[in-house]
């Protein structure tokens, strides 16, 4: 059966519909609730069990002891694959996924993020 112009109706409809695309850098779409973006670390909750380091598939995390029961975390965002396994592995919920995804930088050094523990309290004691 020859029916030319089968899509004409669709084309006309599309003329009056709002576009399927969005003006990205100007209009940002909301990330889903379960989105796994940049990781943040809460040093006060960390107990230094290093389960996150052990489970990380890309060796992107390093946990260093900086004081008595004080730990700091170093994240290599260039290595991270954003699977959030570290968040699942952490028993103390010291790690958290954020919705931040625009992580491109010109300086490579900025991809190493250090979440330092507050060690001044130790000095006071």
């Amino acid at each position: 059966m020859i029916r030319p112009g089968k899509m004409v109706k669709q084309v006309l409809e599309s003329l009056f519909k709002k576009p399927a695309t969005s003006q990205y850098p100007f209009k940002k779409s909301a990330m889903p609730d379960r989105y796994r973006g940049k990781i943040i670390f809460h040093p006060e909750l960390c107990i230094g069990c290093k389960m996150c380091v052990r489970d990380c598939p890309s060796n992107a995390i390093t946990i260093n002891k900086v004081g008595d029961k004080k730990f700091e975390a170093e994240f290599n965002l260039a290595k991270c694959i954003y699977c959030a396994q570290c968040v699942d592995s952490c028993m103390k919920k010291a790690l958290e996924s954020t919705k931040e995804f625009e992580l491109a930088v010109l300086d490579k050094k900025k991809l190493k993020v250090i979440f330092g523990a507050d060690i001044k309290e130790d000095v006071k004691k």
Partner: protein
């Protein structure tokens, strides 16, 4: 007429992935076709041996962006079998639902690519716009549009809430309506029918003898589907129809994929209706006891196979992946025999190739000659037969019996 050999790839503007094809032409007619795989080889199987099972899931998931749930589930199934873990039923249902959503997104993507390859870019724009609906659902359920990170050994990571179920059902209604329209277009649009009919013919016998899988086999009227033949996840409890077609050409493959889309919508609806309550994962040990398992999964492109061997530590001893494209790539040479060069892009695209899934190369070093060479399939098969025969096992009679039974079954 003088024969001309044209190399296409590994770097070519028409190819999305680095792959090398060598086409022998007499005028515009294709006399011979050969594909050379291996440009995307990333050593994933070897890398798996150096990581724990937990880390392997994320690595395996990244074999392919479109079949990420496929590979991860297939691997998890194998490990669960070795460890003797009983995955909760709710987790199995969630796996099936995500698997079907992935099939929808893969088939819609393929439909767009097929439209693009035959110069019907409107179809590409339409299907890829509609694909966003299912991509958004996947992002909402799992957090990501690709590489969902949904599987763990012993279940799934994230649960479905009633709101999610409502959103999925709403999306299914939208997509079903759109797919009905595409089916109508495919059945009525003469340009599409004439461009795809009779292109890339693969008879039923050829599909069986070359071991085609997935929609390529089903379009040649071979009712071969792992979901029915070897049920995994929740498919044993779900009722679905295997879509087959007897066109044996690219048009048939288009109709099969569209039919499968409609089946997927129905499957997701029944799965959501029957989803049981309960836990979504059980705790799995870090060290998996020694053993081996072979796991099969019906990926959108066909049967995906994983073999895992455990040695009692927290790392696997051997992981072998056979992606569906490897099973289907042999059929392309058959489909292109004595065909026009202009049909080459759509015939290759019709098997929905994914070379990043496929690329695993075997180089065997002859220790006496010290010269590495690529082992051909036939050579490897003969070596296997010889090896077994030297150990006192002769499979030749058994093979004949199995081959006859297989032909009788289909």
């Amino acid at each position: 007429m003088r024969k001309v050999v044209i190399p296409i790839g590994p770097q070519h503007p028409a190819l999305k992935e680095p792959e090398s094809f060598s086409v022998t032409l007499a005028g515009e007619r294709i006399m011979a076709f050969s594909a050379r795989l291996g440009y995307n080889h990333r050593g994933i199987e070897k890398a798996c041996e150096a990581r724990t099972y937990l880390q392997d899931i994320y690595l395996i998931e990244r074999i392919c962006g479109i079949c990420s749930h496929t590979h991860a589930t297939c691997f998890a199934q194998a490990v669960e079998e070795i460890a003797g873990l009983e995955t909760p039923r709710r987790a199995l249902y969630i796996r099936s639902i995500i698997g079907e959503l992935e099939r929808i997104h893969s088939h819609l993507l393929w439909l767009g690519v097929a439209g693009h390859e035959v110069g019907f870019d409107t179809l590409l724009m339409y299907t890829w716009r509609d694909r966003e609906v299912v991509m958004d659902i996947l992002a909402e359920l799992t957090g990501n549009r690709v590489n969902y990170g949904m599987n763990v050994i012993g279940g799934v990571k994230r649960d479905l809430s009633p709101e999610h179920i409502e959103h999925i059902l709403k999306a299914m209604d939208i997509l079903e309506e759109r797919t009905k329209y595409y089916i109508q277009v495919a059945k009525e649009e003469t340009t599409l029918i004439q461009r795809l009919s009779g292109v890339g013919m693969l008879s039923r016998e050829d599909a069986l003898s070359l071991g085609a899988v997935g929609p390529t086999a089903r379009a040649s009227n071979v009712a071969r589907d792992t979901r029915r033949d070897d049920p995994y996840a929740a498919y044993a409890e779900l009722d679905f129809k295997i879509v087959t077609d007897d066109h044996n050409d690219v048009y048939g493959r288009t109709l099969v994929r569209m039919g499968e889309l409609m089946e997927s919508y129905r499957l997701i609806r029944t799965a959501l209706k029957n989803i049981p309550d309960g836990p979504i994962a059980i705790k799995s040990p870090r060290k998996i006891p020694a053993g081996e398992a072979f796991s099969r999964y019906e990926a959108p492109r066909g049967e995906d196979v994983h073999y895992v061997k455990a040695n009692g530590t927290d790392k696997p001893e051997r992981v072998k992946v056979r992606a569906p494209t490897l099973a289907n790539i042999q059929t392309v040479a058959k489909m292109l025999e004595d065909r026009q060069l202009a049909d080459l892009p759509i015939v290759i695209a019709a098997i929905d190739p994914c070379f990043s899934c496929t690329d695993r190369l075997i180089t065997v070093k002859d220790l006496n000659k010290r010269s590495p060479h690529i082992v051909k399939w036939e050579e490897l098969r003969l070596h296997g037969i010889e090896w077994h025969r030297s150990n006192g096992i002769d499979f030749s009679k058994l093979n004949k019996k199995f081959a006859q039974e297989a032909i009788r079954c289909y």
